[in-house]
Structures are given as structure tokens and as C-alpha cells.
């Protein structure tokens, strides 16, 4: 569960103390980025820690306000804390985006090739050659996008991420590159098919067919998801 936030019962005694903690949390919130759920989770976790620290200082004899001030001092600069936490989010997001692209890439490619191969009668390998000659930009898209997605996956999170020690910001940059490549790739396919009315290299058939419509729908879904992911990773990277 992401947590319901800090309830009244969890506030330390004293409005002054609550104000001190509230100001710290507001400064922390201002430095956070990412989804609302992720930001809420961080704020709830830090609020719990602040209250624990305040209670610990009160148990040592400080007044509520002094205890809250000591707790805030113990946590350090809220802007720096936010930056460090956002960097971790950026790494995790890079992993998710990279993995998503690595997994969906073969599916999207397979759906398009199947749709075209059914119309042209070409074998899959010949169809790939025909596709690359019709859309040369795919050489760049695949050449940049696939390695970037793989690297973002392994550098963003997981056991290799710790050994590779790639900074989360760099993993996020790789994820942005991979997602942008996917957007360009899907956009090229959709634009090409829209302009030619369904005609493809290697075949004379034109017009829409169900496999082609399905391929376009799959690409449109991934284009939207990749665009959103690129935007989110870029924001996390900028805030970290």
C-alpha cells in the first residue's frame, strides 16, 4: 500500500512542532518529481522517520518544538534529500522503461512483419530487408534504440546495476534515448502506412487489412506509452 499519509494521531504534540515538520516536508515535496503515487510514498516514509526522530528527541527531554527542530536538522537539507531520492526513482524508472521496450520490441516488430508478410508473400527475412529499404531510418532506430534499452534495463536496477555503478541519471538518459527511438520507429511505421494507404515494399497490394490494423493499433499503443515514459524519465533525470 502506498500509505494514507500522516494522520492527526501521528502528529507530535504541539502546533509549533507540527509547523517545523510541515515546513520540512513542504520543502522536500517541492524537490520531488515523478508520479503522484511515488511522491506520496516518499513523503509518507520521510514523515514517519521525522516523527520517529522527533519522538526520540522528546524521550531525551527536549520540548516538542526543540525535538522537531533537532529531527529536521538530523535529516539534513530537504532539497538534497529530494534530489538523492529522485535519482533513485530515475534509476528504477530507467529499468522499467528499458525492460518494457526490450520486451515489446520483438512483439511490435513481429506483428508488423506478420501483417506485411501475409500481404507480400515474402519470407520474414526478406520482409525485414524490404522494410529497411523502405524506411532506412530504422537502421538508426534499431542501432541506437536496442542497445540503449538493454543498457537502461541492466544499469537502472537489479544486481548488475550495483556492479556497473552507472549513475541513475545516465541510466535515465539511456531510457529516454531508447523510448524516443521507439517513438520515432512507431511514428515512422504509422506515418508510412497512412501515407501509402497500406502499400508496402515487396507487394502490390494496397488498402487496409485486419493484421495491418492490428499492427497499427499495437504501434500506436507503444508510441503513446514510450512517449509518456520518455517524458517521465526526462523529468526525473532533470530533477535528480
Amino acid at each position: 500500500m502506498a500509505g494514507p499519509g500522516v494522520s492527526a494521531r501521528s502528529q507530535p504534540a504541539g502546533q509549533d512542532a507540527a509547523r517545523v515538520l510541515g515546513a520540512y516536508q513542504a520543502a522536500l515535496a517541492a524537490g520531488l518529481a515523478g508520479s503522484r503515487r511515488a511522491r506520496t510514498a516518499i513523503l509518507v516514509e520521510i514523515a514517519d522517520g521525522l516523527l520517529e526522530a522527533t519522538q526520540a528527541h522528546q524521550d531525551r527531554g527536549l520540548t516538542a518544538r526543540a525535538a522537531a527542530e533537532a529531527a529536521v536538522a538530523e535529516f539534513g537539507d530537504p532539497g538534497e534529500l529530494a534530489r538523492l531520492l529522485v535519482a533513485e526513482q530515475a534509476g528504477a524508472a530507467a529499468h522499467r522503461v528499458g525492460l518494457g521496450l526490450v520486451l515489446t520490441g520483438p512483439v511490435v516488430g513481429g506483428v508488423w512483419l506478420a501483417a506485411w508478410a501475409s500481404r507480400t508473400g515474402l519470407g520474414w527475412l526478406d520482409q525485414i530487408g524490404a522494410l529497411l529499404s523502405q524506411f532506412p531510418v530504422f537502421v538508426v532506430v534499431l542501432g541506437l534504440g536496442v542497445p540503449a534499452a538493454v543498457l537502461a534495463t541492466i544499469a537502472g536496477a537489479g544486481p548488475l546495476a550495483r556492479r556497473l555503478a552507472v549513475p541513475p541519471r545516465r541510466a535515465a538518459a539511456l531510457a529516454v534515448l531508447a523510448a524516443c527511438a521507439a517513438v520515432v520507429g512507431d511514428g515512422t511505421l504509422l506515418t508510412g502506412i497512412a501515407v501509402t494507404g497500406g502499400a508496402v515494399t515487396g507487394g502490390a497490394a494496397t488498402g487496409w487489412s485486419w493484421p495491418l490494423i492490428a499492427a497499427a493499433a499495437v504501434s500506436l499503443s507503444r508510441l503513446t506509452a514510450a512517449g509518456t515514459a520518455a517524458h517521465r524519465c526526462a523529468r526525473l533525470r532533470a530533477a535528480s
Binding site: 500509505g3 499519509g5 494522520s7 520521510i46 522517520g49 520517529e52 526520540a56
Partner: protein, 113 residues
């Protein structure tokens, strides 16, 4: 002791505090402080990003639970975390033995030729 001094060892220390069972962020920091007799008194704010980093690496797993009237995130060691802690222990033993052997020689070094 400042966080920079612990660079390279913080992950192992955090994993060690979770060996006995799950803890929330502030409890991890307190365990670090109390376990070191007050020597490792890090800014609490550095512990949370470090725990998130360990979670990203798959060495700890975070979960939400009900704390004293509020939601609380606790962390526990994963199987990979247990292995990583054992590795860090072995590395540290080897390192500290070698350093102690050198530093503890005092004036027993042979005179340079």
C-alpha cells in the same frame, strides 16, 4: 563520523542492520548509531536514499505496514542481500586483517637497505 568516510562500506553496514529482521528507515539509522557505539552518526537523510539504492539493486525489499497510527515502510534483506552481506563480510575480514597486520607492526619494520 562523516558519511564520506564510510563510502564503500555503507551498503554492507545497512545490510548488517537488517540481518536480525525488518526495520524502518529511522530504526536502521538508530541501529547503525547504537551498534557502532555512536561512531557512525550519519545524517538520517542519507540513510533513506541508500535504502532505496539497495532496494533498486534487489538487495533489500521494502513493504508498507501500519506503524503507530500511520503508514510505515520497512525493509528486509532479500536472498541476494544475504549473499551480498556475506561477500562484504568476507572482503572486510580480509582487508582489515591485512591493514591490522601492517599498522600493528609499530617499530618492528626492518630498516631500509
Amino acid at each position: 563520523m562523516r558519511a564520506e568516510v564510510l563510502k564503500g562500506h555503507l551498503d554492507g553496514l545497512l545490510l548488517a542492520t537488517l540481518e536480525a529482521g525488518p526495520r524502518h528507515g529511522y530504526a536502521v539509522m538508530e541501529a547503525l548509531r547504537e551498534g557502532s557505539g555512536g561512531t557512525f552518526d550519519l545524517p538520517t537523510g542519507t540513510v533513506y536514499p541508500a535504502l532505496h539504492r539497495l532496494e533498486r539493486a534487489g538487495l533489500v525489499a521494502g513493504a508498507w505496514s501500519e506503524g503507530p497510527g500511520r503508514a510505515r515502510r520497512t525493509y528486509r534483506l532479500t536472498a541476494a542481500g544475504v549473499r551480498a552481506l556475506a561477500e562484504q563480510r568476507a572482503t572486510w575480514q580480509e582487508f582489515s586483517t591485512a591493514v591490522s597486520a601492517l599498522l600493528d607492526r609499530g617499530g618492528t619494520w626492518p630498516a631500509p637497505a
